[in-house]
Each structure stands twice: as structure tokens, then as C-alpha cells.
């Protein structure tokens, strides 16, 4: 089994967990935050929807220096739930395709991620993808679940039942 095949196994499931969470994001509450220092709801939702696009760059590029990157910054403005979901679907498909096309040699190669002289990480592409894209997405999807709860919106069951749903 290739590394790409191994990494793809839980890809669709996690993307669908994020999608099911994003499907519940209310419109008109973009500025909600649970704490002064927290990210606003609209921005957090768009951060999730655009994360797989960043993931695709890990497969398509040889590294990234944030001070000189020519990859466009995705807008984090939440316009509507429909648009947010459209972006997730589109970005997840782009990332999936890029991952599926990556060879074991590509995925084992180092992917330097820097901010000028500062090294953010310099690990294999496969580990960089898992951490900076995939687990990062699971992380923010979970935070979004707490934001839904605080807005009295039923939280989807993801890894087991939530207090609202069994997932059965």
C-alpha cells in the first residue's frame, strides 16, 4: 500500500465530519466569539473550509516561506453557509486529488515551512500534511463544535455520540 493510499483512508470521513459541522453554522452570527481572544465564528468556519486548499500546496509545492509565498491568501470572510460549504467541497476535492497523485518519494521528501529565517517546521510532506492540514482541520472543527454548543445548536456526533445526537 502506498503512503498516499494510507493517508487517504480517513480523508473522506474527516472532511465529512467538518462538512457536517459547517452545515450547522448559523448565518448572521459571524462575530460571535466565546472569549475576547478567540477567533470569531465566521472566520473559524472559513478557516476550516479553506484549510484543504493549504493542504494541496503541501503536495504541489516544494515548501513554503510565508514572507515570499505567491499562493493567494484565501478570504476568511463568511458570506453565507452555502458559499462556505461550496469552498470546503471544492478545496477538499483539490487536496484529495493532489494527495492521490503524490508518490512515496514525494511524500517522504522534506517540506520546509518557514517565515523568513524562522523555521515553522521541516518534516516529511506526509507528516507536514497530517499536522499542518489534516489534524489542524480536526482541531478547528472541534472548536467549531463548541461554538455551536454555545449557540444552542445541536452538535453533530463525530467520534461517538454528542450530547445532542447518537450518530446512529
Amino acid at each position: 500500500m502506498t503512503i498516499a493510499e494510507i493517508l487517504l483512508q480517513d480523508y473522506d470521513l474527516e472532511i465529512s465530519n467538518t462538512r457536517r459541522t459547517l452545515e450547522r453554522v448559523p448565518e448572521g452570527r459571524n462575530d460571535f466569539k466565546c472569549h475576547d481572544k478567540s477567533m470569531a465564528l465566521g472566520k473559524l468556519a472559513m478557516h476550516c473550509a479553506t484549510m484543504p486548499l493549504f493542504g494541496s500546496y503541501i503536495f504541489l509545492d516544494d515548501g513554503m516561506d510565508l514572507t515570499t509565498s505567491t499562493r493567494p491568501h484565501a478570504s476568511l470572510e463568511f458570506v453565507s453557509r452555502e458559499e462556505c460549504l461550496r469552498q470546503l467541497d471544492e478545496n477538499a476535492a483539490i487536496c484529495r486529488k493532489a494527495l492521490a497523485s503524490a508518490s512515496d518519494a514525494d511524500l517522504s521528501a522534506l517540506w520546509p515551512f518557514t517565515y523568513g529565517d524562522m523555521v515553522i517546521c521541516n518534516n516529511s510532506r506526509s507528516l507536514t500534511f497530517r499536522q499542518m492540514c489534516f489534524n489542524h482541520l480536526v482541531h478547528h472543527t472541534a472548536q467549531l463544535g463548541v461554538y455551536l454548543r454555545l449557540n444552542d445548536i445541536p452538535v453533530p456526533a463525530l467520534y461517538g455520540p454528542s450530547a445532542d445526537e447518537t450518530g446512529a
Binding site: D10, L127, H139, Q143, R149
Partner: protein
């Protein structure tokens, strides 16, 4: 590349992050019952859950199948931060040792999780490792980060800077 070689660096990195979160758990009686919403888990339960999840990896790697109703397994109860860290360290070390030895063949075998005859999981051991352990770890640690924030405790930087730390 053996699957375990793909997983071990991720295991070390993710559990190091979880430990940093657990080290920040407030250790007062008042904060143990904190919950952001009446339907949410208490801080003590969520912290204990984060500390016990490494044990799930050992179960998945060490058993042909697992029945929750007959296992006698009980949720970990928080007594102190030190107790959670000590349990977490022991469970993590045991899980790490098993992961180091696991073959691809074992990873591809089927594994089942049941509760009173109901199937909860039925798939490959590898997929269980991913969804019931790795992704589950990230999920609950992220929730714990929100709990820390709501208690005005600096949130560790996880996949990039937090509002508190680079």
C-alpha cells in the same frame, strides 16, 4: 514504508502537545466542575478523557476485538493534575511500545468494537487507530483548549500560534 514508521513521529508530536495542555489544567475544586454549557462535559471529565485516550491505542493494537460491556473498563476520574499526567505518561509509553512493534499485517486485520452486542466499529485496525485514537486525540484536545481559554489560562500554540503564544 511500514505504517508504524508513518505513525510514530505523529504519535510523539501529538501526544507531546496533549501533555502541554494537561500541564495547564487548573487543579482547584471549583474549576473541576466548569463547563461552557449545561450539555458539555465538565473540565475534569474532559481532561481525564484526554489523559485516558492513549489507552485506546493499546486496546486497538493488543486485542482481536473489544466489548465495552464486558471489559470492566471505567472512565478515568480526575483526582489531581499530577495524577492525570502520571496516568497519561504511563498509557502513552505503553501505547508507544506497542506501536513500535506493530506490523502492517496486523494493521490491515479487521478489528471490532461492540457494546452489549451492538457494533460500534467494524473495520481495519489501521482505520480504528486513525479515527478512534489519533483524530479523537486532536478533537478532544482542541475542546480542552477552549476550556482553558474560557478560564483565562494561556492556550498552548498547537498547529500555529495561539492568541497567547507563538
Amino acid at each position: 514504508m511500514p505504517i508504524k514508521d508513518l505513525l510514530l513521529p505523529e504519535f510523539d508530536s501529538e501526544l507531546r502537545k496533549t501533555r502541554t495542555f494537561l500541564e495547564r489544567i487548573p487543579d482547584t475544586v471549583e474549576t473541576r466542575d466548569f463547563k461552557p454549557h449545561e450539555k458539555s462535559m465538565t473540565l475534569a471529565r474532559l481532561a481525564a478523557h484526554n489523559a485516558e485516550i492513549p489507552g485506546y491505542l493499546s486496546i486497538i493494537l493488543n486485542t482481536p476485538d473489544f466489548d465495552l460491556s464486558t471489559s470492566g473498563m471505567k472512565p478515568l476520574v480526575m483526582q489531581s493534575r499530577a495524577q492525570l499526567l502520571s496516568t497519561f505518561d504511563k498509557l502513552s509509553a505503553a501505547a508507544h511500545a506497542l506501536l513500535e512493534e506493530v506490523s502492517d499485517r496486523t494493521m490491515h486485520e479487521s478489528w471490532k468494537l461492540t457494546d452489549k452486542g451492538h457494533s460500534i466499529y467494524d473495520g481495519s485496525r489501521y482505520f480504528a487507530v486513525r479515527t478512534l485514537f489519533f483524530n479523537h486525540v486532536v478533537h478532544h484536545r482542541a475542546q480542552l483548549g477552549v476550556y482553558l481559554r474560557l478560564n483565562n489560562i494561556p492556550v498552548p500554540a498547537t498547529y500555529g500560534p495561539s492568541a497567547d503564544e507563538q
